[in-house]
């Protein structure tokens, strides 16, 4: 119990003492996960929309695969991205391995399927509701997709926030492709893993508190958005 108390004390002094190292780690984490979330949304939402509205052979298979990809283990993603980006790999010439760029790639691969699958579900429900009406008004498939993306914007922001939370909290992928290099690719999660194994529980716990706060804030934002949209738009 004493260890816990000491760790908490250190954590708070780091948090409120404006520790530079801590600040750098938190900032890098947020930057990487934010970039990955934006790229994954740009890829995943259109794919989700296409799967929700278009009917083509093989669609059902893709949906099943996509749903399975939601549960991708981060270490496996890390390994595959590592192989792709390693010097001998097909994308080795980019020189991304052990840079924040590699971590963005890994997290993007990890959460793009999640965003696509959740967006597909949301948009498919909306399409079922509005399909006849939109076709009756003469909307093309592209116009319908754009209309429904806008109509479900609050639900989709919630989806995107869920993706961000998942990216910010994972450790397996970034530690493999980033290498956990101090000051370069050290994120909150990789630092927690490292500091815990070194026995420096104060820093680990401080980072854990920040990470938890971020995840909590994201979830609070998501549920606030949802209730706000229901209240305003029904």
């Amino acid at each position: 119990m004493a260890i816990f108390g000491d760790a908490f004390a250190t954590a708070f002094s780091l948090l409120f003492g404006g520790d530079r190292q801590l600040f750098g780690i938190v900032a890098l984490s947020l930057q990487v996960s934010l970039a990955a979330t934006l790229i994954a949304a740009a890829i995943g939402l259109p794919i989700g929309a296409a799967l929700a509205l278009a009917r083509f052979p093989g669609r059902q298979t893709i949906v099943v695969i996509l749903n399975a990809l939601m549960g991708l283990p981060p270490v496996v993603v890390g390994l595959v991205v590592y192989l792709l980006l390693s010097r001998a790999g097909p994308l080795g010439s980019l020189g991304l391995l052990f840079t924040p760029g590699a971590m963005v790639v890994a997290q993007t691969v990890l959460i793009a399927p999640i965003l696509a699958a959740l967006a597909r579900q949301t948009l498919e429900d909306a399409w079922a509701e509005h399909c006849d009406q939109l076709r009756s008004l003469g909307a093309s498939l592209m116009q319908s997709a754009a209309t429904l993306l806008w109509d479900t914007r609050y639900a989709l922001v919630t989806v995107v926030l869920a993706g961000f939370g998942r990216a910010a909290a994972e450790v397996g992928a970034v530690i493999i492709v980033g290498g956990n290099i101090a000051g370069v690719t050290r994120t909150m999660t990789t630092a927690i893993a490292l500091e815990t194994s070194k026995g420096d529980l104060g820093l680990a716990l401080a980072l854990g508190i920040v990470l938890l706060s971020v995840v909590l804030a994201v979830n609070a934002a998501a549920s606030w958005l949802k209730s706000m949209s229901v209240r305003r738009y029904g």
Partner: protein, 234 residues
């Protein structure tokens, strides 16, 4: 503008999987006063409107218009779907799809909302309106397109008597301005008040198409006589 009417259905058939939804719809709809479609639940009223409107593609027979009806027809669904935007924006949406400039479509939408008596709630989110209000928004939305023919699927099913009368007045005004009204209803009083001719459906077939007076005075088939006898008196 050249009329898209008459509309001629010849032995139109619709099978969904192994279910035969429409057996034989043979019917001519001419320009002029409202046509009312009646028949028991499941007789195919909604299906007939969907086929005419182009939302269902026949698996047999032909549907022929005098001219290409693209953009010249509109439909009010039994359960209208509303987008998460204001009532006004919902009414203007169909015009936006057609590329009409914002000021013009807003002016038209506002006019139609006025004419259905909803000017006061034009800026309220459409989805939080009552059922009766949504039914009128749906009518205004269809009306905004200035269709040559307007299909309505039991538009008064969820309305109280006063709202029902109000909607009938609007439909009569539209008919006077030259819009062909084709409407399904279970309300035989309404059929009498509004209709010039009655289409009677029974088990996926058009059994009768007769002027209102004659249909009610001396139905030409035992099925129609039984249907009239079974409905509540008006």
């Amino acid at each position: 503008m050249a009329s898209i009417l008459p509309l001629q259905l010849s032995h139109v058939r619709l099978a969904i999987g192994t279910t035969i939804v429409a057996e034989d719809f043979t019917l001519a709809l001419a320009a002029g006063d409202p046509t009312i479609v009646v028949g028991a639940n499941g007789s195919g009223k909604s299906t007939l409107l969907r086929l005419c409107h182009g939302l269902a593609i026949p698996t047999g027979g032909t549907i022929a218009w005098a001219r290409d009806p693209k953009g010249q027809q509109a439909m009010v669904f039994q359960r209208p779907s509303m987008l998460r935007r204001s009532a006004l924006a919902n009414v203007a949406y169909g015009l936006k799809l057609r590329g009409m400039p914002r000021e013009m479509r807003t002016a038209i939408a506002r006019d139609r909302l006025c004419r259905v008596g909803l000017e006061a709630i034009a800026d309220r989110p459409a989805r939080v309106l009552s059922g009766g209000e949504q039914a009128r928004v749906a009518l205004a939305r269809a009306w905004a397109l200035d269709p040559q023919i307007l299909f309505l699927d039991e538009p008064t099913a969820s309305l109280d008597p006063a709202a029902t009368r109000a909607l009938e007045d609007i439909l009569r005004a539209m008919a006077d301005e030259g819009t062909k009204i084709v409407m399904t209803t279970h309300n035989l009083g309404q059929a009498r008040r509004l209709g010039a001719d009655i289409v009677f459906l029974h088990r996926g077939r058009v059994l009768e198409h007769a002027p209102v007076e004659r249909f009610f005075r001396s139905p030409g088939t035992p099925e129609a006589a039984a249907y009239l006898a079974g409905e509540l008196p008006w």
